[in-house]
């Protein structure tokens, strides 16, 4: 009989269920109900094959969950995503939801391509109290919450266990200080009979963001900050100079690393055994496992006076639209995605922001967790890059910005550290004053 009822009506069983669900939610959500099968578009930058598959899988589960909302994800590389998004916003065709880094949030909030989500947080039941303070601060702009912080991805320490053992070191006791690290780096650097280095102890490539993240971490470890209290660059401070000089000395004085090894797209100095240790985010865990490398991770050693580690975080925000018709649907997905973030976090290789998710068996019970754990342990020490509206132009790592060009010049030896940092400060200040 039930079948007959559905057959005679114009609704399928799924639509009826969806309508029921949306009707039930209607009272609690802003702008009331949404139509059954409401479509929500989501743009993201997780474009690796594994990431896309993982994300699409999770979204499929949501779409089939009978919540009356269908999410349509589209992946672009980050640069394309941002330019496409701003242009689409100008043309009134912006996606509903966008996933990006919290450091980029002030820029998008200033450009008014995203809207505050305090109302959605309240109506959808999103529990931001589970997110650490730094994450909540990161998504707050002008006193309003603009996004849901999803994960955190700090820099971590990867080392090749076989090489460590061969060098007579104990892989269970990774270096915790700068001195211990240098000792490992020296012992892990291998030379052939003619004195030519065949393997470097440490990877410090000149051509990608890694060097910047490492220097940034060390700058804070040495007691420095990237910006001064006037909001201008403080990169020429003594702490910052000491941090960069330490890295340059690893190249020129100690010979344990070479900025020409690794870093570019497609190059994998760690897997091709050109280096024994590297500092990179948790997103390489799955890659190393797939390569069946015998590796381990640890917290970043403390080179300066205190622990500090570069980190960033992905967040999900709502694009500014002509009307707010889809807010309820947006909120439904955002809450569900945040609550069920363990699966995408594991596959992408990032640490959930939400304490509940981070400590859930769905995350800690994975085979990846033994590598993720050191990143989780380092969470109290994370430092985000400054949350400024000029973030994309200042911190882009694939453009010859004052930051990138001068850092490369210092590492390659074409400029002494103080000169490079002085030039960097001048260039950065010009960018920062642009507003």
């Amino acid at each position: 009989m039930a079948n007959d009822v559905f057959a005679k009506s114009l609704l399928t069983r799924r639509q009826a269920l969806a309508l029921g669900a949306s009707a039930a939610l209607a009272g609690a959500l802003p702008r009331g109900a949404f139509a059954a099968g409401e479509k929500v578009t989501l743009w993201h930058g997780w474009t690796g094959a594994d990431n896309t598959t993982a994300l699409n899988g999770v979204i499929d589960t949501f779409n089939k969950g009978g919540k009356g909302v269908t999410v349509e994800p589209t992946g672009y590389d980050w640069d394309t995503l941002f330019s496409k998004w701003v242009v689409s916003s100008a043309g009134g065709r912006a996606p509903d939801l966008v996933l990006f880094h919290i450091t980029e949030l002030p820029e998008f909030a200033t450009r008014k391509v995203i809207r505050p989500i305090d109302d959605i947080v309240a109506s959808s039941g999103l529990d931001l109290s589970q997110v650490p303070d730094a994450g909540r601060t990161g998504v707050t702009f002008d006193g309003k919450v603009y996004a849901v912080p999803l994960d955190v991805h700090p820099l971590g320490f990867y080392y090749n266990v076989d090489m460590v053992q061969e060098a007579g070191l104990d892989p269970a006791k990774p270096p915790k200080t700068g001195e211990e690290f240098l000792e490992w780096a020296k012992k892990l650097t291998v030379k052939d009979g003619s004195g030519k280095v065949t393997r470097y102890g440490f990877e410090l490539p000149n051509t990608w963001a890694t060097a910047r993240w490492i220097w940034f971490s060390l700058m804070y470890q040495f007691g420095g900050t990237f910006l001064d209290d006037k909001g201008l660059a403080a990169v020429d401070s003594e702490a910052s100079q000491n941090a960069l000089q330490y890295l340059v000395d690893l190249i020129n004085v100690h010979g344990v690393t070479n900025p020409e090894v690794g870093g570019n797209k497609g190059e994998d100095a760690f897997a091709s055994k050109q280096v024994a240790m590297k500092f990179i985010g948790p997103w390489e865990v799955n890659l190393r496992m797939a390569q069946k490398m015998n590796f381990m991770t640890a917290q970043l050693p403390v080179f300066g006076q205190k622990a500090a580690v570069w980190a960033n975080s992905h967040c999900m925000a709502v694009s500014k639209q002509k009307n707010d018709d889809k807010l309820a649907a947006d909120g439904t997905f955002m809450k569900w995605f945040s609550d069920n973030f363990a699966a995408p976090a594991t596959t992408v290789g990032i640490i959930p922001q939400s304490k509940a998710v981070r400590e859930s068996a769905a995350f800690t019970g994975t085979e990846q967790y033994k590598y993720f754990k050191s990143f989780v342990d380092d969470l109290p020490n994370i430092v985000y890059e400054p949350l400024i509206p000029q973030y994309l132009s200042v911190f882009s790592f694939d453009k010859p910005t004052p930051l990138v060009t001068n850092l490369q010049a210092a590492l390659s030896g074409s400029k002494p550290v103080p000169d490079a940092l002085k030039a960097m400060k001048e260039g950065l200040d010009a960018q920062l004053k642009k507003g």
Binding site: V86, A90, E260, N264, G266, L392, K399, P400, T405, S412
Partner: protein, 309 residues
């Protein structure tokens, strides 16, 4: 007399009539020509001419895409010429053009001459030489990124077999642009080859036969027959190579992102960065106009050369 007098008048009437007919035919043909051209013209106007004109207009505006444009005169031009990064981009792009232009023309001609021979397997080799053309720039960039790697790349492997120390092609500011030039030559020399090949096949065999009978050797035939008859193709290829050189972007963006130390930062990347990452459409459009003027000079030079030939 009348008949004599009327004769020219009658002829002129006939001429007028035939001229009118001719005019009608000609105007019919002109219309047909425009009709045949119209699909391309429509697309050209919509996607090239109008955006170019719009960019010229935008180059005098302050505009961040989201807000309303505001007229600011020549400020954008002043801004880009005061920006050391733009001047670096011009210098780098010129260096790229310098590195690629001569090899692209000489190699294109050499390959065409080689593949113009009626030998076994020529068609296969032609296909192989032309194949890189259909590969996407991102693929080319990633592929050559591997080949140029200092530790594991094939290029350095072969260099070391002849006793040359490995070069950090994409990480040494002195070698990064030559590396991009080599990539560009491998990727696009085949288009020059095709143009030369077509031109070579247009040269009548009889000219070579006659010269051979007169005792001309292969070098003399090349210098006195092939080269002079290839002049129009040469002018076209040279101009196209130079213009495409000024417009280089993909390889630099994929392989080095303009680095290291801004050594491969080119004009189009400056435009892209300024427009779509900093959202400063005015200075980006101004840089685009400067690039247009540079390429226009080479186009005009080529047209003048073609006319002279």
């Amino acid at each position: 007399m009348t008949s004599l007098a009327s004769q020219p008048a009658g002829r002129s009437r006939a001429r007028r009539a035939s001229a009118q007919e001719g005019g009608a035919v000609r105007s019919g043909m002109t219309l047909a020509a425009y009709l045949f051209l119209s699909p391309y013209l429509a697309l050209f106007i919509a996607f090239m001419l109008l955006p170019t004109l719009a960019a010229m207009g935008i180059s005098f505006m302050r505009w961040d895409i989201l807000g309303a444009p505001e007229f600011i005169g020549l400020d954008n031009y002043r801004q880009i010429f005061a920006d050391p990064l733009f001047l670096t981009a011009i210098r780098n792009t010129f260096y790229f053009v310098f590195l690629t232009a001569i090899p692209m023309v000489v190699l294109g001609l050499a390959l065409a001459m080689l593949l113009d021979q009626k030998l076994k397997g020529t068609t296969f080799v032609r296909t192989v030489v032309f194949l890189p053309y259909v590969v996407m720039v991102s693929t080319v960039g990633i592929l050559w990124g591997w080949l140029f790697d200092k530790g594991t790349g094939l290029v350095n492997y072969y260099l070391t077999t002849i006793g040359i120390e490995p070069i950090a092609w994409l990480k040494d500011p002195h070698w990064s642009m030559p590396a991009l030039a080599i990539t560009a030559i491998w990727w696009t020399v085949n288009t020059n080859m095709i143009i030369f090949l077509a031109a070579l096949q247009d040269i009548s065999e009889e000219l070579h036969d006659a010269a051979t009978l007169d005792g001309a050797g292969p070098w003399q035939r090349f210098v006195y027959i092939t080269l002079p008859l290839l002049r129009p193709a040469m002018a076209l290829v040279t101009a196209l190579t130079i213009i495409n050189g000024w417009r280089v972007f993909g390889q630099a963006y994929v392989m080095t992102q303009g680095g290291p130390e801004a050594s491969t930062f080119v004009i189009v990347q400056y435009i892209y960065l300024t427009a779509f990452q900093n959202f400063e459409m005015g200075p980006a459009a101004a840089a685009g106009v400067v690039l247009l003027l540079i390429t226009l000079v080479f186009s005009l030079a080529q047209m003048k050369l073609m006319k002279a030939i």
